[in-house]
Every structure is written in C-alpha cells, then in structure tokens.
C-alpha cells in the first residue's frame, strides 16, 4: 500500500477526533531548525464541515486490537486497515509543513498489538521528526490508555500537548462499550502527565528563584498541557453528570481543555442507540461547550450551571438560563459594576467587559458609546441599566425576557439556516 492510500484510510479514521488546536505553545524560531509555534494557533484551512484544519490529524494505525462498540475502527468492524511506518509519517509531516499546509502533527492511533508497542512506534516517528529533521513545529500526541509510565515520559518530552481520551463519561459505560479499557488505564497516564508537568514547573520556579540559568536548553515536558475528550449521547449520562465530571477533571488533572463530541453512529450494536433513528445531539454538544467556556473564562462554578432537569436548556445558552434564574441580581448598572459582575451579563464577554471598564475611565457611557466600542446590546439590553435607565422597551420580567430572547435568536438568518439543516439531518 502506498502512502497516498494509507493517508486516505488513516485520516478518514481520525476525523471524529475533535481537538485540532495548535495553541498554547509559543516557541520562537531557532536557527537551523524548521518551524515555530504560535501561542494563538494558526488555522491553515477549513474543512467542508466548517472545522479549522491546523494539524495533520491522522491515526498511526487503525489496525486496532480493541473492540470498542462506538468506534469505527473496532476490531470486528469490516473496514480497510493500514499503518504508517515511523519514517513515512515523519516525511509526510515535513513535506506538508514545508508547503504551509499545517502547523504540525496530531497523532493518535488504534491499539497496534499493545498500548506499549503502539506508543513505541509513535515515539519513534516523533523522535525522527524532532531529532533527525529538527522539526520545531507543533505536535499533539495521544497517550494510549494502558501505556507504561516510562513511555509516557519519553513521549512527553517530544510533544507540545498530550491527551488521554476518557471516551465515555462513566466507568459503567466504559466497561459496557469499551471492555478493553478501564477508568484506571485512562487516569494513570493522566496523573503521570500532571505530576511530570508539576515537577518541571517546581524545578523551573526554583531555578528562577536562585537566579541560575533562566532558560533551560532542554525541551519542556508537554508545554501546551494536556486535554481530553468524551463522547456525548452514546450512553445515558446526563449533563449534570458531565459537568460535574468536567469540573473534577479540570481540578484533579489540571487539564487545559475538555472536548465534547456528539456521538455519530458508525456501528450497529444492541448496546448503542439505534443507528437509523438516532440524530446526533449537536445542540446539546454546543450547550456543553458554552457551559465549559463559562467555567473557564467567566469564573462560573459548575454548581451554578447544573440544570434541575439534568439536561442543559436547548433553547437558551446556560448564561441566559442562569441570569433568568437570578433576575433579582439584575438589571446591572453598567457604569459602575465591577468586572466579575459585568461578566455575568448575557451578551457581554470577557473582551467586552474589559472594553467597558477601560472606556468608562475616560468618558461617560451611553447606549451610543457602547455601540461605538463594538458592544452588541441585542441580548445584554434586557439585563442592564445605563446611568440608571433600563433601555429595553419590554417589561423586566423573566417570562417576557425569555420569550423575547428566543424570538430574537429565532429571527437571525443563521438560526433559520441551522434549523433547516437540522431538519435535513433527521431525514437521513
């Protein structure tokens, strides 16, 4: 099989992986080395599903010896199998990078014989890239659950980001659908990565304190941190469960990100939702991301967002839901409120909040001046006063506001389009 055919199979097999960011690492160019990384990440293309393509996202091999029910590459599935060789994939990465197609490599894999064997091959590929080709760009590698700590450590010093997929939100679902993986096989490498990052940070802090060499020549251990991903909707866990899990994952393992992936049926199985009638919970995935964002950038605690029904409201984003529940704290006077309070206003983000604080130092705020700052009041207007004046023409009442926001968002063009697309999806 030639590289073209392998690439075709192994990129198709990797497409459901969500994370494709190249952010979090900032490495200046080094003389004599190919490549650099940029802290905000760079998208080099966008696929037909609208997702950013930043990295060469492939599996090393899809010849998997595990038999996870939800996975397109499960052992018992009838699909074409392929595996790269370390040098072949390293070459391909370099050639793509030279052409400005990509920022680097995102490498995952099926379990080729055993987790350790798979990781050894992955390490060899990345070693060739880093040491022989002096590749200085971004690399994100998956740690295969069950890999031994020594290999995780070696891999960690070669890559920018590492992730271990927890795949499913509970041990019960995991043993039902992925009998070869266990919660422990996932959390062990995760804690190992966390500890190694901590150790290195402590060492760096000590060195900085004692004013020794400020910069170490040695490559850092997983400088862009670790992340994980889980499948939503294939198993019965509700959003309350998932948000609680996310909170504890961020806390326990210091994760940079958690990715959610709305389940798309690929296999027929009595243990999974029926393939024909199942429609992928895209809106639910979207709401979970919004809740996740609120926890990471808006200082919300998971407990504040937990829905009474167990599931996040599909009509409203979690911030609006929270605001409507706490209407006693509103409307918020925008000319005096501190940053933490501004961040609680639906329709105002961290950027807008900081702009407001900067602008009101110099001049008095008005509806006009807010618009000039680029603050969109479409949603915020229901929740604020400007110099004591409530600017929405509607009554300050939870039900009226809820209805009004709903009709606002229904009337946007994008939303009408989305509704149409969702209807089309259910037809298949």
């Amino acid at each position: 099989m030639n590289t073209y055919e392998k690439l075709s199979i192994l990129s198709d097999a990797a497409k459901y992986d969500v994370a494709c960011t190249s952010s979090g690492s900032n490495r200046q160019a080094v003389k004599g080395k190919l490549g650099s990384t940029s802290v905000g990440g760079i998208c080099h293309s966008f696929s037909a599903d609208g997702r950013c393509i930043s990295l060469l996202k492939v599996l090393y091999s899809n010849a998997c010896s595990y038999d996870c029910e939800y996975c397109a590459n499960r052992k018992s599935a009838h699909t074409k199998r392929a595996s790269f060789t370390p040098r072949e994939l390293a070459n391909l990465t370099i050639e793509f990078y030279r052409r400005n197609f990509i920022e680097g490599l995102f490498l995952s894999s099926g379990v080729l014989v055993s987790p350790d064997n798979t990781t050894e091959q992955i390490i060899e590929c990345i070693r060739i890239l880093r040491e022989e080709y002096h590749f200085n760009g971004y690399i994100h590698a998956k740690a295969i659950p069950g890999t031994s700590p020594e290999l995780v450590e070696r891999l960690g010093f070669l890559v920018d980001r590492m992730s271990v997929n927890i795949e499913l939100p509970s041990q019960k679902s995991l043993s039902l659908l992925a009998p070869d993986k266990s919660k422990q096989s996932v959390t062990k490498p995760m804690s190992y990565i966390r500890d190694a990052i901590d150790t290195e940070n402590t060492a760096l802090a000590l060195r900085a304190k004692s004013n020794l060499a400020k910069r170490s020549k040695q490559r850092k251990f997983v400088p862009a941190g670790q992340s994980t991903q889980m499948i939503i909707g294939a198993t019965p866990e509700n959003d309350t469960h998932i948000l609680k899990l996310s909170k504890s994952l961020y806390k326990a393992y210091g994760l940079k990100r958690i990715f959610f992936s709305a389940y798309i049926p690929v296999n027929e199985s009595s243990k999974l939702p029926d393939k024909l009638s199942f429609s992928s919970p895209l809106t639910r995935e979207h709401r979970l991301y919004q809740a996740d964002w609120l926890m990471r950038f808006y200082d919300f605690d998971a407990d504040e967002l937990l829905p009474d029904t167990g599931y996040l409201n599909l009509d409203h984003d979690p911030k609006v839901v929270w605001a409507l529940k706490h209407l006693d704290d509103f409307p918020i006077e925008i000319t005096t409120a501190p940053l933490s309070t501004l961040l609680r206003i639906p329709g105002i983000g961290p950027r807008g909040a900081r702009k407001i604080i900067r602008a009101r130092k110099y001049s008095a705020l008005s509806e006009e001046s807010l618009k000039k700052l680029g603050i969109v009041l479409k949603r915020a207007k229901y929740f604020i006063t400007i110099n004591g004046k409530y600017i929405s023409p509607y009554k300050f009442d939870p039900e009226i506001i809820s209805k009004q926001i709903l009709s606002d968002s229904l009337n946007t063009k994008a939303n009408l389009k989305r509704k149409m697309q969702e209807n089309q999806l259910t037809l298949f």
């Binding site: 073209y4 497409k15 190919l34 037909a48 197609f101 895209l282 999806l425």
Partner: protein, 268 residues
C-alpha cells in the same frame, strides 16, 4: 483638533513622493516645514499620480535627513508602535491611506501615545480601523498561502490579498522555514520576497515568469487534497460556515479547493 483650521490657502496642494515609505515620511516632514498642514488635498505616489486641473502639484525629492528627523520625533513622542502602524497602513490598498498617515503623524506628534486610543476622531478612527484590517489580511496570508517545490528545490508561493502583504510576512516565514529557501510572490502588487537560507530581500518584479515545479510536488498536493476530503465529517456538512472562515477569493490559491485529481468535486 481639526488641522484644517490652521492655514487656509486659495488652492489645496497635491504633494507627490517617490512611492517608497521613506519618501512618504520625508514628504510629510516637508509639509510640516512648508507650514501647509491645512491645505493638502492629496498626497500621491509618483507611480500612480494623475494630474488634476486647478491643483498645484509639488514634487518632493526624498531627503534622508528629513526621514531620520521625523522618524525619531515620532518614536520619541508616540513610540515605535506609531511608526509600525504607519507602515502597515502604507501597505494597504485604501486610496486615502497617504493622507490618513499624514493626519495620524501630525496628531501623534502633537498628542503622543494617546493617539492610539483616539477612536472618536473620525480620521484617526479610520486610520486605526485600516490598521486592523491590514493585520487581518496579513493573518490570512500566513494561514492560506501555499508553497510548492520548484525543480530547483526552492519553495515558491503565489498569493493575493487586499494589502501588499509580502513585507509583513517575511519575518514569519524566514523564522519558520529557516533552513529552506523560498520565494513569495504577490501577483496583485507585483512584489516578491526571497530568502536563500541566509538573507532575505523584497523586490518589485515586472515580467514575472512562473517557475516549473518538481515532479514529486504534485504527489504531495494530491495527498493534501485527499486528506482534506477525508477529514470532513459528512454528517456535519456546513459549506456556509467554511466559506465564512475561508472566503472564496482565496480559493484560487488553495490546492484543497481545486477540483480533485479524478475530476471529482472538492467535497465528493
């Protein structure tokens, strides 16, 4: 605040400079010396100057001493960033850019660093918006330009966007590609940036001859196209979203947006 209140003369002047950034700075310094701050109708680059009736034109010869003086003054008063902002706006295609730079420099020399937050001033606001759009266009070039290997082993990229982007992306690519010789060609502004692995130059290029590509280059293009097709989740097809992120005007430079090898459509 409005400098048009300063001096009024019967007819507004048009200043013509030699089309270089230094030339523009020198010219702006000359206008200050001539005390004609309030009577400028146009500042024109020599390359695209078209005379107009009833408009006295003054042809300015670039004076390196004036360039140094105004650059130093600007840096001292408003910081290095102000000079960079001017250069970025200089590279845009906005017809009024020279006049806006002139206005920005004049205000910056008077008020200093504060000029960067004077969004309320109409012309400064216009200048700052323009700077932002230049930054955005530069980013598009960094994202979307594509190199191909020529038969001489040099990597070549042709690209166009709304600004003369080459001077703004050379540092990025020199740092990144480092050991790899390359040429970036802006076919809209006929400007090319070249790097031989050691030194970089930027040049105007007339009569450009497209290079011949190496035979294995096509293989990688085909692989990239195949990767692009496979990575899409078909159940989530959203062509509108893609087009929003990757505007159609760039598709001609993107290998993955050309029809597939076997005549199949890009999305199969």
């Amino acid at each position: 605040m409005d400098s048009s209140q300063h001096i009024q003369e019967a007819l507004p002047f048009c200043y013509i400079f030699d089309s270089s950034f230094d030339g523009l700075l020198s010219c702006i310094a000359q206008i200050h010396l001539d005390k004609r701050l309030g009577s400028i109708s146009r500042i024109c680059a020599q390359d695209d100057y078209q005379p107009s009736l009833f408009e006295p034109a003054i042809k300015h010869e670039t004076n390196q001493e004036l360039v140094t003086r105004i650059t130093e003054a600007l840096k001292r008063k408003a910081g290095h960033k102000a000079l960079q902002s001017c250069y970025k706006v200089f590279l845009s295609d906005e017809p009024r850019r020279f006049l806006l730079i002139f206005y920005f420099v004049s205000v910056a020399l008077r008020v200093g660093k504060q000029v960067h937050s004077m969004l309320a001033d109409k012309r400064i606001g216009e200048f700052l918006d323009l700077e932002k759009s230049v930054e955005a266009a530069r980013h598009k070039a960094i994202e979307f330009l594509r190199f191909h290997k020529t038969s001489e082993g040099v990597y070549f990229a042709q690209f166009e966007t709304s600004i003369s982007f080459v001077p703004l992306v050379m540092n990025h690519f020199v740092g990144r590609l480092n050991v790899q010789a390359f040429v970036i060609y802006d076919s809209k502004h006929t400007v090319a940036g070249g790097y031989d692995g050691k030194d970089a130059i930027i040049q105007r290029v007339e009569n450009f001859n497209p290079p011949r590509f190496s035979s294995d280059d096509t293989d990688y293009t085909h692989m990239w196209q195949e990767f692009y097709r496979q990575i899409t989740i078909k159940e989530r097809y959203k062509p509108k979203l893609r087009q929003q992120q990757m505007p159609k005007k760039y598709w001609q430079f993107l290998d993955e947006m050309q029809n597939g090898t076997a005549g199949s459509s890009i999305d199969r």
